[in-house]
Symmetry: C2
Subunit: 638 residues, 2 copies
């Protein structure tokens, strides 16, 4: 691979100060709402929310309190993700009080850690004799991986080594244990340790940890029956019951290079593919990179919702089959789109190919952004493309779909995942390689780059103009040209210039001296159709503007959105509405509404009439901020 790509890195958080009209609301939420709210939740201080028990568990594990473990077996990871998010926020908003909270939490983790480096309060409290004996369900490596990610982030943000040192002891334990003959073929049931060991290895300068991450990736699926056989060990303790191993669910049906389709639990899969990308680029492994590209292609061409959601089945929170993407019953877990963005970020960094940025952007501006309310205290775990509240009945096949965001969840992996993604958003925005600066997402801010400071000003995604000022230096400026842009222009110091288009980026060369660049992207509202094999979109159309998927809501269009048909011949109009949903562009279409006599019986021999109707679309990521009601992304077309 080219040297330039090999040196590429996502921009360091401390080298970016975002100040964006679209994302600013979300990033402000991190420090104003998400971090304080989640801290209270983890400490069981939120009235009306399901109890977390996360911090309390660690106190019990540390021997400071009596009690039983509470919550899911992976509860510790909520604190790890909180620390990661907090660390990221400290890079752009120093906060001594927050930093003290973090330091105290880290100390608690240190006390809960066992002398050999083991850290996982569930097993420490409830099943100390069964450590690593249930890799399928135990989530120990998952917890440790998230702790490692938190430690690396905190070290990067503050320079403090305490968390790093704690987790290096854990990593040492893992490197010892998982290279013994007994565990030499073992791999985790929920991928994550691979990502944590990689980050920790980079932060601590320990290649051993990165080699261990690689080993976990390489071993996966070579022995597809590990999770069945571990049940035979006398120390095995079950968490959710024995038997019934589903290899696809755990992506252990085949060695990773032989996996051609995205299978199983979507979050596990996305984390695995992200780790595969880490390893492929680290070791220059062409066959592993090829596997990543194959899996990426399967997702993007056949198994991804238009909103960047992945996981089409509520049961199993998983992939199902090519082109099977049901609108109402789908899953599209917030965590899974975070994972998809992570995977794309790595592929983008490693290859410089803008198509990965298109997908990363699609996931971030839609499913990930949809995951949190405007108020910042309610979250979606499941992100369907069509919601009809009356049909979301408890005890039925739709009970996984909550038609309104929830304050907290018993299984609370999504809110902290959203928080760490928003807090670390700048890392998705740009790339640099010591010479060049590449703008991957159109997010306003000031970036410290090889060309000095680059200031970016834009009102994207509501407007397509991006204004840049480049301080100096000789490197190249690469501006992403998204796949959805039909027309664009680049002006340098007011003059139109031609730029070289390579792999989805427009390259402008230096030298620079306080130059201004104006990048004009045409991003009108457009209709979008799906491949005819995507059955859930047959006879339907969606509306997008730039990367933003739009939807109908009951608040604007009345009940029974299924009665509406949009006239794709009549065009779309857009209108920025500052007072609506925190300020957003609304898109309108013309069409029809079916009408019939409600007393005519359920099945009839006469076609319904239809009357002209105006259809109003709002961004999918802003839905459910005006009270419960129907929503639909794919609308009948006629």
């Amino acid at each position: 691979m080219e040297a330039k790509i090999r040196n590429a890195k996502a921009i360091a958080l401390k080298n970016a100060r975002l100040d964006d009209p679209f994302w600013g609301r979300y990033t402000r939420l991190v420090t104003e709402k998400l971090l304080p709210y989640q801290w209270r939740a983890l400490n069981d201080l939120v009235p009306g929310a399901e109890r977390s028990g996360c911090v309390e568990n660690l106190r019990v594990a540390a021997g400071e309190r009596e009690g039983r473990f509470h919550g899911y077996v992976f509860q510790d990871s909520d604190l790890a993700k909180w620390l990661e998010a907090a660390a990221y926020s400290l890079t752009w908003r120093p906060d001594p009080a927050l930093e003290r909270q973090c330091d105290e939490a880290i100390e608690l983790i240190g006390r809960a850690q066992e002398p050999d480096g083991y850290i996982d309060s569930y097993f420490t409290i409830e099943a100390p004799g069964a450590k690593f004996r249930n890799l399928r369900q135990g989530h120990e490596l998952y917890v440790m991986g998230h702790m490692m990610e938190g430690a690396a982030a905190y070290f990067d943000a503050t320079g403090k080594r305490r968390f790093l040192d704690i987790m290096c002891r854990t990593a040492d334990l893992i490197c010892d244990k998982f290279n013994t003959p007994e565990f030499s073929a073992a791999y985790p049931g929920h991928e994550e340790i691979e990502l944590g060991l990689f980050k920790l290895g980079k932060a601590a300068g320990e290649k051993r940890y990165i080699d261990m991450a690689r080993a976990f990736v390489e071993r996966r699926g070579v022995d597809p029956d590990w999770f069945a056989r571990e049940e035979e060990h006398p120390d095995y303790v079950t968490v959710w019951g024995r038997g019934g191993l589903d290899r696809l669910y755990h992506q252990c049906h085949l060695p990773v290079r032989e996996q051609k389709t995205a299978e199983g639990h979507a979050v596990r899969a996305a984390y695995l593919y992200s780790a595969m990308a880490d390893i492929a680029f680290e070791y220059g492994d062409g066959s592993l990179l090829h596997a990543c590209e194959t899996l990426y292609g399967n997702i993007v061409d056949r198994r991804m919702y238009i909103t960047g959601g992945i996981g089409s089945s509520g049961a199993g929170e998983r992939f199902t089959a090519d082109f099977d993407l049901p609108n109402a019953s789908g899953y599209a877990e917030s965590c899974a789109s975070v994972g998809l963005a992570m995977f794309c970020r790595r592929m983008l960094t490693g290859t410089g190919d803008g198509r990965y940025a298109d997908t990363m952007e699609r996931a971030l501006y839609n499913t990930v952004a949809a995951g949190v309310s405007l108020g910042g205290e309610e979250f979606f775990y499941v992100n369907p493309l069509e919601v009809w509240p009356e049909s979301c009945v408890e005890g039925t096949s739709m009970e996984h779909v909550k038609p309104v965001r929830q304050r907290w969840f018993g299984c609370a992996c999504c809110p902290p995942n959203i928080a760490r993604t928003l807090a670390g958003l700048a890392g998705y925005a740009a790339t640099e390689n010591g010479e060049d600066f590449r703008l991957d997402l159109f997010i306003s801010g000031r970036y410290k780059t090889p060309m000095g400071e680059v200031e970016v000003r834009t009102r994207f995604p509501f407007e397509g103009n991006v204004a840049l000022k480049i301080e100096g230096g000789g490197g190249r400026l690469a501006l992403r040209l998204p796949g959805y842009v039909r027309d664009y222009a680049v002006l340098r110091n007011g003059e139109r210039v031609e730029a070289e288009l390579r792999d989805g980026y427009l390259y402008l060369s230096g030298p620079w001296d306080n130059d201004t660049v104006e990048y004009r992207l045409e991003i009108p509202p457009v209709f979008v159709w799906a491949d005819t094999r995507l059955r859930a979109a047959a006879g339907r159309v969606a509306v997008m503007k730039g990367p933003v998927v739009y939807c109908l809501e009951e608040a604007d269009n009345g009940t029974n959105l299924s009665a509406l048909t949009v006239d794709t011949k009549a065009g779309l109009t857009e209108d920025y509405r500052p007072e609506l949903l925190g300020g957003t562009t609304v898109i309108k279409a013309r069409g029809w509404r079916d009408v019939d006599d409600p007393s005519g019986g359920l099945y009839r021999f006469d076609e319904p009439q239809r009357e002209p109707a105006e259809l109003t679309f709002v961004p999918y990521c802003l839905w459910d901020n005006r009270g419960p009601g129907e929503m639909a992304v794919w609308v009948r077309r006629g």
Copy 2:
């Protein structure tokens, strides 16, 4: 209620000899395939099928074998239903060998019965100390109810009292036990005993049993927490786990007269409503009848599939909400449509209103008939309106949908239910009240009626002519005029006559003397639309001919049925094809197929093209007899 209606009864099976081109295939299957095959299955003699253990359990309960109970807690009911089906078949096809099998099975039941009358092999073998302590899950009363239905049927068919006497001892036990103070508010978790006690009471001339059936109906939901409190008893033993009582699921959220919507598990609901109808008519209870009418209306107007299927959620096998009838993920259990037909049969008998016959017919000619393959050895448990085999993946939200019929099921309630319905089909076909004869379904055969023999000849549902010959007597002949018939004529001895239309029936008066009646029904193929609130049918249309719902299959139309749009302006043509699917009318339409470039990406900015296409529809009940493939009832309209 009118005296005429009060005396009405479904025609006795021994008074009907069916010989029908449509149903003949199914009824022949009963004796040629279903009964022998199911007998082998119940005796664990079918290679490749899931083990039943049914007969073996009874041998163990009788103390004749060692062993543990095998199967679901209600496994005994499979034999009861088999006996009921066998009994019905003996009324129209005497078979000494079959009768001997029945007698032996009945003797075994007698030996498995405990001295106090208790009969339920699960509890006898596994939990004798917990009898009636888990009414929610134990299914004892369910088993006993089916045994009672079998006993009444066998007595009616053969005159033999043995089974009747066995079950009268059980009924005596129930009447004693459930009138003690401790159990005076109790009712079963799965309704069925109400139906069994009623039938047994009628057959044995014991009003006490009918009063007990009434009591179970009246008590239901008066104490909505019975199933929660029974868990506190020291003798309580769980079957599927404690807690999590869902009152809607068990229709015990309210007393039955206060229930306005069809809720919960669809089979339980249908059996309850059938029992409510039995009791309402038996006791002349107007308020209970009103409750039946309300629930019937809610089902037919808001919660029933066009195929007469009920139960829209795989999870819980249950009703969900008004107008929520998803096509692919729905449930529409075969047993539930049997239950709906049972409910309608009772309402029809009691009120004489033809709309109940329309619904009964819809369920029988579609979901119930679809439940068994042409070969008679494969069954559908779940009857969706749209199937795409690739999406029916294990471990996902679609795993309840099997895209092909199965040889047997671990939970085998449906095949025996289908068998007893087909064996007793004549009971659905006509009604008499000692004076008049009413033809409710158009099924060829010879009926013994108050007007002597009435012979019916028809090729319905493929042709709309029904030819009758009435032997003699003075009563009235009532011919149902289905709601879907637009045009008809009645000829008597070749001359057109006007007949009085009342409650959906055309009445012709006697006297009769070998008169011929020709009843010509116009039943062309037609398009059918749904109420616009039925979201799953928005922008779609179905095709029917008479009561038969049609569907597209992959075998005729290729893959990806969602790419097809039917032109509702272009009309439909029909064509009887004797060589296809055992002989059936095929319906053709014109329309279009979407085409696009498969390499164009999953989401695109260009609309697909479409090319003209011919669409071929076959009866829904005959789908999946030509190998696995896609199927769809609701087709895009344009």
